[in-house]
Each structure stands twice: as structure tokens, then as C-alpha cells.
């Protein structure tokens, strides 16, 4: 590193650790132990001046490190703005001071590298450490999670709202028309959830095999997969068994519903849904890799689930659930779209050409805005044409959430961790809009279509 750059780093480090009165001078003392000495410090260009009197001191010309740090707890827990710098150099005495001109600097600034990113970068180190531990202790040692936590993580169960919304919406449309079979609704929810979780697990398997998850430099709690394979928590084989068990359970329940409630129409919809879920990341179709992930997700978590649930409830096909599913299909596709934005670099490196990868960064927010406009327009037009209850217009109250997501996409298209709140907001937006639509059908049944 050039000296001017070091002087800039020193000046910044001094400015940003101003509340901490001491630097810590570190060296190896004559007994072979590291020694620390807290000392006031001054920065002079590319040199650190340490006014020291008495006490233990490093010998003239000894290699030393000087630590400048800042950590401040937040009253509500956690820390804000953690940062530290370690400057490496050689100590020289000069007029009652120790002078250190650093030749190397290391450290961490949380505002530059968020804690989650820091942890993710260190995963290979953790994997190597488990290998060492296994050798030292003569038995396999690997990271673990309690069963419930492991299932939660491996299946990405918190995303189940994507399934719950279309299913209860389909049931609400059926209830609007006078049919509601609660036990069958429960079974539909379980079957759809099992297929969804099976899809999540198989998605991770294929993304691990393709390398898309491994090369993702910035996974977040909402994107980049469950990472149980990358973390060494589960192997591909265990994940394959889990996926097969989930799919198997979902298919068995689905066949039961075909047999007793839905007949051929439900069989066709179910088969199509299953095909989409497998083809999402599995070869040869790999829809997500071809920019068709949004379409697959919109179909699967929109009309297929909503209409399928309606068939189970009423025993017949119909247009009303298809119309009701349009806004939530768009919204769930947008959940995927927003979640793809932080993965753009990793997906592109792995050849996973998602829609977010294909679009230039400046277009991400524009496309989002157009699609969200389509959501609200679809509801407004359907309500105006009396194809949806007028109560469904309440979905408009989610508009501020959509605006905040759009703004985040416009401001941070290249900053994965800055998008975490936007990803969470989009998931809540789908949930709230879905609940409002569902409620609108219930209210319309109880109070009449116009609320009169």
C-alpha cells in the first residue's frame, strides 16, 4: 500500500475512533508473551506518535502493532458501527515518543463489510476447522442444529406464506360461493406446503450441484438458498432424501384429494404444479436459469394453488379463483424477483440467468414498478367489473410498502445487504395483500358484494 493511502487510512481511523482515548501498542516482550500497552496517540501524516513515559516498552526497532478500535453497544442490544484497525510497523524512539510508520494495515469496518457478509466469507475457514477437529479428536465432528431448527433452515419453512395465501384465497372464493369444507382445506394446506418445502429443498440441491449457491458472495436471510449444504450441516444425499419425503407426502395427499374431491381437473393442475416445481431448477428445463423462474412461481403459487383449492372445496372448475389469483401471482413473482437482486453476481457467475441477472441494474426498479402497478390495476379493474368484491380495493393500503421496495431497488441495486429490509417488506406485502384479498371475499359473503 502506498504511503499517501496509509496516511489517509490513519487519518480516518483516528477520526472514527475519537471516543476511545487510547491506542493499544502490541509487541512480543522478552519473556515471549505478547504485551499490550494502552497509550494516547497522535497521527502525523503516515506515522503514529505514541507519547510514552515509564512502564514496559518494546525494544528499539521491534516489530509492533497499533490497534485503534471502536465498539459501542446499542441500548436495545447489539452494537452499532463496529470497527477496528491494526497497523503493523516498527517502533522507533524519538524525543520521548515511540514513532510507528505502518507498512501494513488490517481490520474490519462493519459499515463496509456487514457482519453477515463477514460470517459468509469465513465459511471455508469454518469447514477447514471442522476437518481439523475431526482429525484431532479421531471422530467426525460437524456443525449441528436441533431437529426443528435444521428442518426450518433446510426447508426454508418461513417462506410458507407463499403457499398459505393462495390456498386460503382459493378457499375464500369457494366460501364466497357457499362452499367451505374445513377438513379438506387443512389437507390442501398440508399437501401444498409439503410440495413447496420439497421444492425448496430440491432447489438447494440443484443450486449446490450447479455451483450457484457456492459462488454466491452475498447470501442474505432471504436469498442465496438455505446454505445447509455449503455449511456442512447436511449432505446432498440427506437433502435428496428430505426432498423425496416431502414430495412423497405431498403427492400422496394430493392423490387422495384427486380421488375423493377434485377428479381429473385437479389431477391435471396438480401434475402441472409438480412439473413446474421440479423443472424450476432441475435439468433439463431449469426454468430459473433461463429467466423463467418468475413465470413458474407465478403460475405455481398463483392460479394453480388457488384454482386447485377451489376445486377441492367446490368439486368444480371456475373463473372466479383464476381472477382472484392474478394479483397474488404477480406479488409472489415479485418476491422472487426482489430476492434475486442480491444474488445477481453469484447467479451470473454460475450461469443462472435469472430475470434480475438479465436486466441492467437501472431497470430493476422500473420493472418492479410496472409489475406492482399491474397488481393494483388488476384488482381495481376486477373490482370495477364486479369480478372481485369491492372490498378487495383495500389492497391499495399496501402501496407505501411497494413504494419503499421500489425505492430500495433504485438506490441499492448493487448492495445486497442494503436490500434485506426491502426483501422482508416484499414478503410482507404479498402476505398482507393476500390476507386483504381473502378477507374481502369473506366480507362480501357476510355483508354483501358492495358492503351494504
Amino acid at each position: 500500500m502506498s504511503r499517501p493511502a496509509m496516511s489517509e487510512i490513519l487519518a480516518e481511523a483516528q477520526r472514527r475512533t475519537a471516543e476511545h482515548p487510547f491506542a493499544v501498542l502490541v509487541w512480543v516482550d522478552e519473556s515471549g508473551y505478547p504485551m499490550h500497552r494502552p497509550v494516547p496517540f497522535e497521527v502525523e501524516g503516515d506515522t503514529i506518535g505514541l507519547p510514552v513515559t515509564g512502564g514496559p516498552l518494546p525494544p528499539e526497532g521491534a516489530p509492533v502493532a497499533v490497534i485503534l478500535s471502536r465498539i459501542r453497544p446499542r441500548p436495545q442490544g447489539g452494537y452499532e458501527g463496529r470497527r477496528y484497525w491494526t497497523f503493523h510497523g516498527v517502533a522507533h524512539r524519538q524525543a520521548g515518543r515511540l514513532m510507528v510508520t505502518p507498512h501494513r494495515v488490517s481490520g474490519w469496518r462493519e459499515d463496509e463489510l456487514p457482519f453477515l457478509a463477514l460470517c459468509e466469507r469465513a465459511v471455508p475457514q469454518a469447514r477447514r476447522y471442522f476437518e481439523l477437529l475431526s482429525r484431532i479428536h479421531g471422530r467426525p465432528i460437524r456443525p449441528r442444529l436441533p431437529l426443528a431448527g435444521m428442518l426450518m433452515r433446510a426447508t426454508r419453512a418461513p417462506f410458507l406464506t407463499a403457499t398459505v395465501i393462495p390456498v386460503i384465497l382459493g378457499a375464500a372464493v369457494a366460501f364466497h360461493e357457499g362452499s367451505l369444507l374445513v377438513p379438506w382445506l387443512g389437507l390442501t394446506l398440508i399437501a401444498a406446503a409439503l410440495i413447496h418445502l420439497g421444492l425448496n429443498v430440491s432447489n438447494d440441491i440443484f443450486d449446490a450441484l450447479s455451483g450457484a449457491d457456492a459462488v454466491n458472495p452475498s447470501p442474505t436471510p432471504f436469498s442465496g438458498g438455505s446454505r445447509v449444504i455449503q455449511y456442512g450441516l447436511l449432505g446432498i444425499r440427506e437433502m435428496a432424501l428430505l426432498s423425496a419425503a416431502l414430495y412423497g407426502g405431498g403427492i400422496l395427499l394430493g392423490l387422495g384429494m384427486v380421488l375423493f374431491r377434485g377428479g381429473m381437473p385437479l389431477l391435471i393442475l396438480g401434475a402441472l404444479g409438480l412439473l413446474l416445481s421440479i423443472a424450476y431448477t432441475a435439468p433439463p428445463l431449469r426454468l430459473a436459469y433461463r429467466g423463467l423462474g418468475e413465470l413458474a412461481v407465478a403460475l405455481g403459487f398463483g392460479p394453480l394453488m388457488t384454482v386447485g383449492t377451489y376445486i377441492v372445496q367446490t368439486g368444480r372448475m371456475g373463473w372466479p379463483p383464476l381472477i382472484a389469483s392474478v394479483p397474488i401471482a404477480l406479488l409472489i413473482a415479485l418476491v422472487l424477483y426482489v430476492n434475486e437482486v442480491p444474488d445477481r453476481a453469484g447467479d451470473a457467475a454460475a450461469g443462472k440467468r435469472t430475470l434480475a441477472v438479465r436486466l441492467p441494474a437501472r431497470w430493476l426498479a422500473v420493472i418492479y414498478g410496472v409489475a406492482m402497478a399491474a397488481v393494483y390495476l388488476s384488482v381495481g379493474i376486477a373490482a370495477a367489473l364486479k369480478l372481485m368484491p369491492v372490498w378487495s380495493m383495500a389492497v391499495a393500503i399496501t402501496l407505501p410498502m411497494a413504494i419503499s421496495v421500489g425505492r430500495a431497488l433504485a438506490r441499492f441495486p448493487e448492495q445486497p445487504y442494503a436490500l434485506i429490509p426491502a426483501m422482508a417488506t416484499q414478503i410482507r406485502l404479498h402476505l398482507y395483500a393476500g390476507l386483504l384479498l381473502t378477507t374481502s371475499y369473506l366480507l362480501s359473503r357476510w355483508l354483501g358484494p358492495g358492503g351494504s
Binding site: H20, V24, Y33, P34, G55, I71, C119, R144, G149, M152
Partner: protein
């Protein structure tokens, strides 16, 4: 192991961060900010995630370490001054999943939110796979408040 001087114990019990130094293969100091834990048995405990385990390799090779508490805001007991502790460290990592959990109450006294985060460890699984670093102090250098010159030195190797 006998207890440590009162001022040093007070600092260890209050500090949210300490500078912890290990020696690398070239015998050069490598410094990490760490949360020190003290349970009153005369030893100082740290826990290190396997994610940041390079320091554990260094301790295995050379157990000589030092730890200091210097930040009066992160360690809100200003009247006790600052301290440096030299000692020998031992890595306890037979069970990184649960072998450190006995230190959780001491950790929670400093960071009350930690038990909730551990309960939801599935959200950050590798961070909660941890080794314990147990430091047996050999020499303590205590600078009383305002002092940065000659420290009070406690040599614990003498008995």
C-alpha cells in the same frame, strides 16, 4: 486458581470488548477484539466461532497470549483504569455445538439478547458453533485511572 485483584475482576466483569493477541507462526502478534468472560475462578474465558478460528490454530501452536481492556465506554468502569493480562491459553473444542454453553449465563449478563439468539441459532448456524479459550493469567499490568506510565504489576507465577 486464586481470584484476581479486585480492580481487574471488575474490569473483566464489565468489559464488552477486550483486545486479545495471539502469536502467529512468525511469532508476530495478531490482535482480535473479543468479549471477555469471567466466572470468578481466576481464569478468563473467551468463546470463538469456528468461522473465525484462525486464532485457535495459533493458540494450539503457541499458547502465550495477552488480553487488554482499554475502552472506558465499552467497559463502563472508568474508575478502574486499564489492564493487560498475559497468560497461557487453552482451546476447549471437543463439542463446538454445546461445549461452550456453560458460559452462556456469563455472556448474557453482558449481552442480555444472546440467549434469544442462541435459541434461534438456525438463523446463523456456524456462528454458534464455538470453541472456548481458557486463559490462565501469569502476569497482570494494571494502570490506575489516568495512568499510562508505570503500571502496577501482579506476577501470578510466584504462587
Amino acid at each position: 486458581m486464586s481470584r484476581l485483584p479486585e480492580a481487574v475482576e471488575a474490569l473483566l466483569e464489565a468489559a464488552l470488548v477486550a483486545e486479545f493477541t495471539v502469536l502467529n507462526e512468525r511469532n508476530r502478534p495478531v490482535v482480535h477484539p473479543m468479549l471477555p468472560l469471567y466466572v470468578g475462578d481466576g481464569r478468563i474465558y473467551l468463546t470463538s466461532s469456528v468461522l473465525f478460528s484462525r486464532k485457535l490454530y495459533h493458540i494450539r501452536r503457541n499458547p502465550r497470549v495477552a488480553l487488554s481492556i482499554t475502552d472506558p465506554i465499552a467497559a463502563p468502569v472508568e474508575r478502574w483504569g486499564t489492564v493487560t493480562i498475559q497468560g497461557e491459553a487453552m482451546v476447549l473444542d471437543e463439542d463446538p455445538h454445546a461445549g461452550w454453553l456453560w458460559l452462556l449465563p456469563a455472556w448474557a449478563r453482558k449481552e442480555p439478547d444472546i440467549p434469544r439468539l442462541v435459541k434461534n441459532r438456525w438463523m446463523l448456524p456456524l456462528f454458534w458453533e464455538r470453541a472456548v479459550i481458557a486463559i490462565t493469567p501469569r502476569r497482570i499490568f494494571h494502570w490506575p485511572p489516568g495512568g499510562t506510565g508505570d503500571p502496577i504489576v501482579y506476577d501470578l507465577t510466584e504462587g
